[in-house]
Symmetry: C2
DNA sequence: GAGAAGGTTTACGTTTACGTAAAGTAGGCT
DNA sequence: AGCCTACTTTACGTAAACGTAAACCTTCTC
């Protein structure tokens, strides 16, 4: 048997409340085992939680995160499904690449602003 | 006098409803001129709308977008303000860099998945 | 001058992602 | 036994970001 975790452990680790973790279960994003009525989380559940958090940092909705995680679980039996699957992945990639571009643009602007400010600041301080 | 736009023009250009554009005004994100009771948008308003949309693609809330846009409007009079300003910019940059990393990780996984799938697919099709 | 097209305010409705409170259970300590 | 602590379900509340409907101006066109 591998490592297991209680709900409070994971909540603390990821900086959310236990309510949040249960909510994700309600939404079908994780499905921990039970011991009596208590939830027991496996390392796999923990990985899924990590993926959820990353998705959230990317601004995805929980539904979108669910879709994304389904991608990892698809079984490659049917050719048709495989093709559809590849399309979905490509769409995702396109979105992500757009986001990456947005971030790089914004980062560039931030850097420019920062430079302007530090320059202004040093000017003011040499005048004194 | 420069170019001006009606609310429907901008809504259409950015793929949102007029309700949305007015909502952003309510939130203080844009402040178009008026001609009588009608809203008249300047190129500057349009730029702000573009920034709003980019912020949304990055998963920011409207409040966060407002903060970000305030950065562009700050006047560099007080040294104290300048220093605070630089801190804010650096925080933003840290967040953005984290997001960029998340995206790159996810992109890498998507690419890996895509490769697996195309490979599987070609295997299946040669067997036929 | 009647209506159609496009704009306006006001205001209630909706979805998402939880917060928060209530009330019960189950095991451990002393 | 009695209490504490951690967990559970149930359920109502809430903030954000609009959707949607109602009722009212203008202005243009025919």
């Amino acid at each position: 048997m591998g490592e297991t975790y209680g709900i409070a452990d994971l909540a603390k680790e990821f900086g959310v409340t236990t309510r949040t973790v249960r909510f994700y279960e309600d939404k079908g994003l994780i499905a921990p085992a039970r011991e009596g009525q208590r939830r027991i989380y496996s390392p796999r559940d923990r990985v899924r939680l990590r993926l959820i958090m990353r998705g959230k940092r990317l601004g995805l909705t929980l539904d979108e995160i669910a879709e994304l995680m389904d991608l990892y679980d698809v079984d490659p039996s049917e050719v048709t499904q495989l093709k559809q699957f590849i399309d979905v992945i490509r769409d995702r990639k396109t979105v992500l690449e757009g986001q990456k571009k947005d971030i790089e643009e914004t980062l560039a602007e931030m850097t420019r602003l920062e430079r302007q400010c530090t320059q202004l600041l040093s000017q003011k301080q040499t005048k004194k």
